[in-house]
């Protein structure tokens, strides 16, 4: 049977080659050409100018804060995301389907609306009197909002597939809930948690829309890298903006490759 299929299999036909050609062309024009322009033109003013722009005190401060706050947001997501995924898979309560659907809201809601939304509750006109606007905590809050779904949506399907018998066996042998979670559930979830966390981190590092209104963009305090780049473009310094963009771009690509490596590692360890 397999030999029959093999003989029937055509070599990559015309539409396949055409599709590949069109795809490559599209990606080149839409994605690669602009990104190449950022990399190449970042040195328009010479390597020294590139280096000065990328290592200016304000740029470094913005990058450091961006990476720091993104790490904190990612760590919080690892805990809350795993917890929420567990509750959505293993718990039963009224309105669970609604809650499950709402998890994707941060994906669907425009980021500028997300920022405005957080500002409505945690800003100067807060109905509960909590005003964190223009603080580093506000930036963290915005990042937590927009990255909420990543870990949850990554962990949920793995948790659903997980064999319950092992857990039940461990419990019947006298293991506590914590032991079962730490020894049986968690090890199975690690690849999914890390994958979701990497996506959340990548998203947080580049985030802009949800931060614009709530951060106040205070240099050396609440200014994130994307806001710094935006300000450089506004003050008609696109080449300087390109320099720090290259740093951000390299970071994004590293995360992307990390996610791919993680995916392969998870696939090998899972089954």
């Amino acid at each position: 049977m397999s030999t029959l299929v093999l003989t029937l299999r055509r070599p990559a036909g015309r539409p396949g080659a055409l599709g590949l050609g069109i795809s490559t062309l599209w990606l080149s024009v839409i994605v690669l050409l602009p990104l190449a322009a950022v990399v190449v033109r970042s040195t328009d003013g010479g390597l020294q100018a590139f280096w000065d722009a990328a290592t200016s005190r304000q740029a470094i401060a913005a990058l450091r804060f961006t990476i720091g706050v993104s790490l904190v947001a990612t760590l919080i997501n690892v805990v809350t995301g795993t917890l929420i995924a567990w509750v959505l898979v293993r718990d039963r309560f009224r309105g669970k389907r609604l809650v499950n659907a709402l998890i994707d809201l941060p994906f669907a809601l425009p980021t500028i609306v997300a920022g405005l939304t957080l500002l409505a509750l945690y800003g100067p006109t807060s109905p509960v009197g909590i005003d964190v606007a223009f603080t580093q905590f506000a930036v963290l809050l915005a990042l937590l909002f927009v990255t909420l779904p990543f870990v949850i949506r990554s962990v949920q399907p793995v948790l659903m597939e997980l064999d319950r018998e092992m857990e039940e066996a461990a419990l019947s042998l006298g293991a506590s809930n914590l032991t079962v979670f730490g020894r049986i559930i968690l090890p199975n979830l690690v690849p999914a948690i890390l994958g979701g966390a990497a996506l959340a981190f990548a998203r947080a590092v580049g985030e802009f829309g949800s931060i614009v209104l709530i951060s106040g963009n205070i240099p050396f305090d609440t200014q994130v890298a994307s806001m710094f780049i935006f300000k450089q473009i506004e003050s008609d310094n696109p080449i300087g903006a390109a320099s720090i963009s290259v740093v951000l771009l390299i970071l994004s690509l590293l995360i992307l490759f990390g996610i791919r490596a993680l995916g392969r590692w998870g696939a090998r360890h899972d089954r």
């Binding site: 299999r9 599709g19 509750v87 718990d91 809930n177 580049g206 829309g209 935006f230 951000l248």
Partner: protein, 264 residues
Amino acid sequence: MTVDRPWRIGLRTVALGYLALLLIIPIGVVFYRTFEHGLGAVYDAVTTPAAISAFWLTITVTAIAVPLNTIFGILCALALARGRFRGKAILDTIIDIPFAVSPVVVGLALILVYGRGGWLGDLPFQVIFSVPGIVLATIFISVPFVVREVTPVLKEIGDDQEQAASTLGAGDWQTFWRITLPSIRWGVAYGVVLSVARCIGEFGAVSVVSGKVAGETETLTLLVEKRFQNFDIAGAYAASALLAFIALATLLAMTLINPRRDNE
């Protein structure tokens, strides 16, 4: 349930409390603030000439970007799922770049190509601070969605039916329209819904390249920002509520498509 009842209730409370504080209550407050002065005020705020023009610009840009990326997405998914060629892993990685790159960098990249002094800065028509720039930015950020939704479906269904069809004499187009497309349609639909939501909601990249001329290059999300900066808070809330309704409709569509997609 393998977990004791008090544990379960405790974990549930923490999880739902976190979601309430971060997601549900803030959205509730925005809707309350929007409609506290009555429907009339909201209607007035979303039917000003600037708002109507922003709405139509957003729709137009989405209507250009989504179909193009859907065609690209299906072609690319076919290449990734069925093709065997060198550089497949690279192609696969490039597709994810728009997910990872900051939208501001996307906007800057377009300025460096199409702006004053850019690589293609001398085109006969204006791109930056004009509608073509907004369209290009929106296409960039919505590239991955259809590809990412369709590729796994194509891998899952395999190519047995396609091969059977071509053995029986069907042409490539016929096979695609009669066999492949019907079996991936819900995957495509899901990708399209995600793309539409992303296109309508895009802010960062568009904000860099648009120039923000009211009535000309201002999209809905830019209108929200401008109104807020101009202390027209009620107007900003009204436009936000409109966008939030679109987001909720997106969620509804996702929830409806999901089970069908799983059954494919």
